[in-house]
């Protein structure tokens, strides 16, 4: 090969360029090590910034309502009147009703039907996914997001069964995404929009029952929103209508901001972690590179090269590696970051602005691509440059110490009696202690994060189980009107699979202060006093006693308003249509402030009386022997048929498993995201292990040749290398198990504080520990197989030529 080059560069710089280009495999490995870290940090920062900038921006663009009011039926004139209330910018009415729907051959499912007069309102702009966002006559447009999927497609013919039992067919003409509907609400149903004209044609009421209001000025100012809400409420009351529920929300800050914040916090932690791990990988790689180059360093010093010249050459080489890594990592990091943000935002139903490169990410990536390799390589480059010519040329290495103490010594002495080949693997493992430590650190961290992710998953599942018991039974039934509890119970118990029925009443109360001002709204549920569906883990006090009136067990989220509230204290509570009364707090249970207003439990008999429906209920929770979603769905079909046969009209029937599945899908999203990060770290870890094993094999080529000379077969050589990899993997597993506890705890704190706004009780699960054991064994073997194969393929002649 003739490589005539013009003398544009001095020979030493030619060498630098050729080192870079000539040994592509090595360059690839070093660049890959740097790129992984630089890419990961770029992805994390890009994702962080995009989420931060776009999450609320996308929400604000949708112009969600500041005030949502559940009230008695009203018409467009009332809407016009509300729009005249001071500080009201716009108002909109909707007719919301629950219907049962199905496509031909499918099972029935519950759908909230939102009837609107037209689609001209600016409130709650939706994004069209497919088809149109505006339904025509006998058409519906279905809302769809990550958590709410009906399975309906544009063009599907859907049958609607209204609460009066009438059935009508409509066509799905569009799929839309509605950010305001993606907020956490375990009971939330899928919904679709329909025109009032269609409802009218189907013989349904065309009155509104839900009022949406937007305020003038700052849509994020909750105080002014509350003031406007009070005025609107007064206006409605003046018209003789009752107000059943009011929700006030910011139109500038997404209710899912906490999810976004959680993800971003986790991203930051993982970013720092990835940076550290990537740095260790880079240190190992560059150490190995310098070791390979030691002889050439010796030659340069032999022919006049001084330390600073040698250092300069290798630092430039490392800068070149960094530059290549940067060129690769910046676009990849930006794209992956945006995609990650998109994934997280989609989960929350949020939309992002267009793709863009984040300058801060590029800046940090640039720093990382150059500073970390330079810092990582400074020690090896410096000591390499200072090495004596004789040391460099004779390949004498003095940093291998075989003396060991403690447990390792005892183990190796014990092993020595049985098998020298395994003894070689064990002693080799601890031969390059610095390199081993760095590899152990990387793989251990990967393992610990991996296990922590499963612990967090377990913890969140635990919270979810705790949470969902407040909202559901195996099947939750909503009837069109109140029926006598005994009749319904009797009817339902006739359905095969039903083993228990509980009537749950509910009331929306308000907590008042001494000045008769509303402190907070209170959602009061009233299960039977001996309910089997609630197993509250009370933090203080006790559960309700039979026939105990004006007594409540309240969620700890009340502490936001009454920090020192304890069992035995009193609250002034007003129920709709009743005067305010003094209630006694008898117990406090933990709950998530994420879900807004405090919730409370009171005795069923008392609440049903206060609601003027004694011994009656519309809502029933059914206990069954159907555990999984499909058998619960079958049970629903049986219940629905049986109720219809008995002339009872069910408005809503929900499977507990289905609700749980929907709710846990949000957790799964977070877990998937965490797992992606853990896998990224595992990739860094296994890359580190592969690098280490390759370096070990390369440096021990001569010893492998000697082993071959004295009778070691291919299998024996491979076994030696793979055993070493496995030992390292298993050591990291043991340490990872220990380290996973503090990491789990730290992640639980971060996720708890940001996502749940409460502490997340840590639930340690063996799943992650066992799964990582399997994974680390596989990773160790895979990481060792290639170097082992290379080792086994070496002929002794090559080995002798290696000297």
């Amino acid at each position: 090969m003739n490589v005539k080059r013009k003398n544009l560069l001095r020979p030493r710089w030619v060498k630098v360029l050729l080192d870079l280009w000539g040994n592509k495999a090595r360059t690839l490995l070093v660049v890959a090590s740097i790129t992984v870290g630089v890419f990961a940090i770029g992805m994390i920062i890009s994702s962080y910034i995009v989420l931060k900038e776009d999450f609320n921006y996308g929400y604000a663009i949708a112009n969600p309502p500041n005030i949502e009011i559940w009230t008695d039926p009203f018409d467009k004139h009332m809407v016009a009147a509300i729009e005249k209330v001071p500080s009201v910018e716009e108002a909109k009415g909707a007719n919301i009703t629950s219907v049962r729907t199905r496509r031909d051959g499918d099972a029935w499912q519950t759908l909230d039907l939102v009837g609107v007069s037209n689609f001209s309102s600016n409130i709650n702009r939706v994004t069209t996914i497919e088809g149109t966002s505006m339904a025509g006559l006998e058409e519906i447009v279905v809302s769809q997001d990550w958590l709410h999927v009906t399975g309906y497609h544009v063009g599907d013919q859907i049958e609607l069964k209204f609460q009066d039992g009438s059935k009508h067919k409509v066509t799905v003409t569009g799929l839309i995404k509605d950010q305001t509907k993606s907020k956490p609400n375990p009971g939330a149903s899928n919904y679709a929009t329909i025109t009032l004209k269609t409802l009218d044609r189907f013989g349904q009421s065309t009155d509104f029952n839900r009022l949406y209001v937007n305020v003038d000025g700052d849509g994020g100012n909750l105080t002014s929103i509350a003031e406007v809400a009070a005025k609107v409420k007064d206006q409605l009351k003046k018209s003789g209508r009752s107000v059943y529920r009011i929700e006030e929300t910011s139109s500038t800050v997404s209710p899912l901001e906490s999810l976004s914040l959680t993800v971003m916090n986790v991203l930051l932690i993982l970013g720092v972690l990835t940076t550290i791990l990537s740095s260790t990988l880079i240190i190992n790689m560059l150490n190995s590179l310098l070791m390979q180059q030691m002889r050439q360093i010796g030659v340069m010093k032999l022919v006049g090269g001084r330390s600073y010249q040698v250092m300069g050459m290798y630092l430039v080489l490392i800068i070149c590696y960094g530059l290549i890594a940067l060129i690769l990592a910046v676009p990849l990091g930006a794209i992956a970051g945006y995609q990650l943000a998109h994934f997280i935002a989609s989960t929350a139903g949020a939309s992002l602005q267009a793709f863009r490169v984040i300058p801060l990410a590029v800046f940090v990536q640039t720093l990382m691509a150059f500073l970390i390799p330079l810092a990582a390589s400074y020690v090896p480059v410096h000591s390499g440059a200072k090495i004596s010519v004789q040391q460099a040329i004779s390949n004498v290495r003095t940093n291998e110490i075989f003396s060991s103490g403690g447990v390792i010594k005892i183990i190796t002495q014990w092993l020595s009696q049985f098998s020298r080949p395994i003894l070689i693997s064990v002693r080799n493992t601890f031969r390059k202690k610095g390199r081993l430590l760095l590899t152990l650190f990387t793989l251990t961290m990967a393992g610990a994060v991996f296990m922590a992710v499963f612990n967090i998953r377990g913890s969140l599942e635990g919270v979810l189980d705790q949470l969902l018991q407040h909202f559901m039974g195996d099947v939750t039934l909503q009837l069109r009107r109140e029926y006598r509890v005994n009749n319904i119970r009797q009817t339902l118990l006739e359905v095969p699979g039903v083993i228990g029925v509980e009537a749950w009443s509910a009331a929306g109360g308000e907590v008042w202060d001494q000045n008769r001002h509303v402190v907070t709204r209170l959602s009061i549920s009233a299960p039977p006093q001996d309910t089997k569906l609630l197993k509250l883990d009370l933090t203080a006090g006790r559960w309700l006693l039979p026939n105990e009136d004006r007594a409540i067990v309240i969620s700890d989220t009340i502490h936001k308003y009454y920090p020192n509230l304890q069992p035995g204290d009193h609250l002034t509570i007003k129920l709709p249509g009743r005067h305010e009364e003094t209630w006694t707090v008898v117990g406090i249970f933990p709950f998530l402030s994420l879900f807004g207003d405090p919730i409370a439990y009171a005795n069923y008999d008392f609440i049903s009386e206060q609601s003027f429906t004694p011994d009656q209920a519309t809502s029933y929770r059914i206990i069954s022997n159907a555990g999984d979603a499909s058998s619960q769905e079958a049970l629903i079909q049986r219940i629905e048929k049986h109720l219809a046969d008995q002339k009872y009209q069910a408005v809503k029937l929900q499977s507990g498993s289905a609700i749980r599945k929907t709710a846990s899908s949000a957790i799964d999203t977070l877990i998937v995201f965490l797992l992606i990060m853990a896998i990224l770290i595992a990739v860094v870890g296994s890359l580190g292990l592969t690098g280490m094993m390759s370096m070990n094999v390369m440096e021990r080529t001569r010893e492998i040749g000697v082993m071959r000379t004295i009778g070691a077969s291919d299998g024996a050589i491979m076994q030696s290398v793979i055993t070493e990899g496995l030992i390292i993997g298993l050591i990291t597993w043991v340490i990872s198990v220990g380290l996973s506890f503090p990491i789990s705890s730290m992640l639980a704190t971060v996720i708890g504080k940001t996502l749940l706004e409460s502490d997340l009780p840590l639930n340690i699960t063996p799943v992650g520990i066992l799964l990582w054991l399997a994974l680390v064994v596989i990773l160790s073997v895979v990481a060792s197989v290639l170097p082992a194969r290379n080792a086994a393929r070496l002929t002794i002649n090559e080995v002798l030529a290696y000297e």
Partner: protein, 645 residues
């Protein structure tokens, strides 16, 4: 030699260099004093491990001193320069000093693999601050032209041969116009023709006024040096100041007891070579090579490492393979151990055709049947000596597990290092490491032990112990095959195989004409004709013209003179001895009758013209044969006269 020494350029004063090996102090250089003079070609010879490379490293500032001093006097007028105390310079100062004043050439070339040849030569100016793009490039090309490799200037080192690499290394050493060139075994990896070219380049440099210091173990170069120093166990044995250049005869006498004596003793030599009668060699061949060729091919072209090797080695013998570096002796050993593949031909070891096995299977076979000993011991550093010895038993699954430890202890005891059994290799001396390596080679009780330069890295006392150990093994029935370039070792073995440029030199030629270079011996091997003579058959008739130089391969001859009916016995000659030289050197007619003895004889006969060509190219051989012819003629006259009386 035209370059006359006229001033001291480098002074080595009372230099001592100690190394620590296995916790014990080892003196590599002991009170060395040398004045190196400008324009001299200083040769330093010694066996492996003698300290010659250490001396060179000390001179070039590559190794620091334990005590002593080295002063550099520069290249110009001594009075205008303050001597540079090399021993006081730090690493960077040394690098700059070397770059500007010293050119270093190593046996292993040490070229930068990624740079082209011209860039390699341009590197020292770049690093030592004298680089000017065009000028340096021009000079590098000129130097490559001088060393005869300008045509390949833009190739990379991997694409040229070893000899070409060494030429590049010399060009690189000269690029900064240094005062002194230091060369460590520069011909060590080269064939004899290329080695000669390199030496000629050095001689030209000396003629141009450069100083060349070269270390080598090849004593055939001694006559080429303008001054010769010898080093043994760290001691320079010839006075450093103004040491006289030895004559060729002195060189020969330093290797042997005296050239004529060698010839006279040749008859006894074959008797000496008989194995110990107590341990009769088995008739079965341990190793058989048939028509083995080994050709290496790379971008630089084909290189024939072994050519038509036919060899049979029997069990129970102590055999040496000798040859210069690069002659192919290690390749031959690799063929026998199954470490490398022959390009053509068959290899059978212990009746196994080892190249019909997979590499993996061959490794196991080797573990069971061959014990391999390396020059650098190659004990696994993470295992104790005891564990190292147990390892082959584990790999080959021989001996019950519970017996392996006791067997290993026994073997370590046999080689005299049982008390070091639990130490790591780095904690014992080189000699002890090699002893343990031999114990490891014996672990699976193989019938054949092969050793590649086993004493090459040991001091003379340790080397002696190791050779005794090998001799002991042959007495236990083992076959020991060692590769060495140390001729003195061959005197302790039963059989010697001499190899040059990939071919085996006929042992009869080696014995008969030991002062030929290996290249000349090989040439003779190519030119001899074999002749088998029946018992009591006449080979030369007195008075007839003699057309050949005869060497006795086996059997014997009787030399007689006849005068009428009277026959006078003059001499009996045996294997390794020769006849016909007296006639060829003195007129060409037989002065006596030569007849095979009662068992017949196998002869190698070298045609007259080839004989003259050979002795003309080897002054020492010519001179020695002349002297021997004179002695034989005198003996002839004396015995004939006595018979007449």
């Amino acid at each position: 030699m035209t370059g006359k020494p006229h001033k001291i350029i480098l002074e080595v004063q009372n230099v001592v260099k100690n190394y620590s090996s296995g916790g014990t102090l080892f003196t590599a250089l002991n009170q060395v004093n040398i004045d190196i003079q400008q324009g001299e070609f200083l040769g330093i010879t010694g066996k492996s491990g003698a300290g010659k490379t250490t001396l060179l490293n000390v001179i070039s500032g590559v190794t620091d001193l334990t005590t002593g001093s080295i002063f550099f006097h520069g290249g110009g007028d001594p009075s205008s320069h303050t001597p540079v105390p090399i021993h006081e310079l730090n690493e960077d100062q040394l690098a700059l000093w070397r770059g500007q004043n010293v050119g270093v050439v190593y046996q292993s070339f040490e070229l930068m693999p990624t740079l082209s040849l011209v860039e390699n030569v341009m590197l020292p100016p770049d690093l030592s601050g004298t680089y000017q793009s065009q000028t340096t490039n021009q000079r590098a090309l000129e130097l490559l032209d001088i060393v005869g490799i300008a045509d390949h200037a833009h190739k990379i080192p991997a694409h040229i041969s070893g000899g070409q690499k060494q030429r590049v290394a010399i060009a690189r050493a000269m690029v900064n116009n240094p005062s002194i060139i230091i060369a460590d075994e520069p011909t060590g990896s080269l064939d004899s023709l290329t080695a000669e070219t390199i030496i000629q380049i050095f001689e030209q440099l000396v003629e141009q006024g450069k100083t060349v210091v070269m270390v080598t173990h090849d004593e055939s170069f001694i006559p080429r040096f303008s001054r010769w120093l010898q080093i043994k166990d760290g001691l320079v044995t010839i006075p450093a100041k103004n040491g006289p250049k030895p004559s060729q005869q002195e060189v020969a006498e330093s290797r042997f007891s005296g050239p004529v004596q060698i010839y006279l003793e040749a008859a006894n030599a074959s008797a000496k070579k008989q194995p110990d009668p107590a341990v009769q060699p088995l008739n079965a061949p341990a190793v058989v090579l048939r028509d083995v060729d080994k050709v290496y091919e790379n971008a630089a072209g084909k290189f024939v490492a072994l050519k038509k090797i036919n060899l049979q080695l029997n069990y129970g013998r102590f055999i040496s393979i000798v040859g210069k570096s690069g002659s192919g002796k290690s390749t031959l050993l690799n063929m026998i151990t199954g470490i490398d593949h022959p390009t053509l031909g068959e290899v059978a070891v212990a009746n196994e055709h080892i190249y019909q096995m997979s590499e993996s299977k061959r490794a196991q076979w080797r573990g069971r049947n061959l014990g391999v000993v390396f020059q650098f011991f190659q004990l696994l550093p993470m295992l104790t000596l005891l564990e190292n010895v147990m390892l082959p038993m584990d790999y080959c699954n021989v001996y019950p597990k519970r017996e392996r430890r006791s067997r290993a202890v026994e073997l370590l005891d046999l080689v005299g290092v049982a008390d070091q059994a639990d130490k790591l290799p780095t904690s014992v001396s080189n000699g002890q490491q090699q002893s343990a390596a031999i114990a490891r080679a014996l672990a699976t009780d193989p019938s054949i032990i092969v050793a590649d330069e086993p004493t090459g890295n040991l001091d003379s006392r340790s080397a002696d112990n190791i050779l005794n150990l090998f001799r002991g093994l042959t007495q236990r029935g083992k076959t020991v095959l060692i590769v060495t370039h140390d001729h003195s070792i061959t005197q302790r073995t039963d059989q010697t195989i001499t190899i040059a440029d990939g071919e085996i030199i006929d042992p009869t030629i080696v014995q008969a004409m030991p002062f030929l270079s290996h290249g000349q011996m090989l040439e003779a091997t190519h030119q001899v004709e074999k002749q088998k003579v029946a018992p009591r058959e006449t080979i030369l008739h007195q008075g007839n013209a003699v057309e050949y130089f005869y060497m006795i391969a086996s059997g014997g001859v009787e030399i007689k003179t006849s005068h009428g009916r009277n026959e006078t016995w003059l001499a009996s000659l045996g294997p390794g001895q020769f006849f016909g030289e007296t006639e060829l050197l003195n007129g060409g007619h037989a002065i006596a009758l030569v007849q095979s003895d009662e068992q017949g004889v196998e002869l190698l006969r070298l045609p007259k013209q080839s004989f003259f060509n050979l002795i003309d190219s080897s002054t020492l051989t010519h001179q020695t044969l002349n002297e021997l012819a004179a002695i034989r003629r005198a003996e002839n006259i004396e015995k004939t006269g006595a018979a007449r009386l």
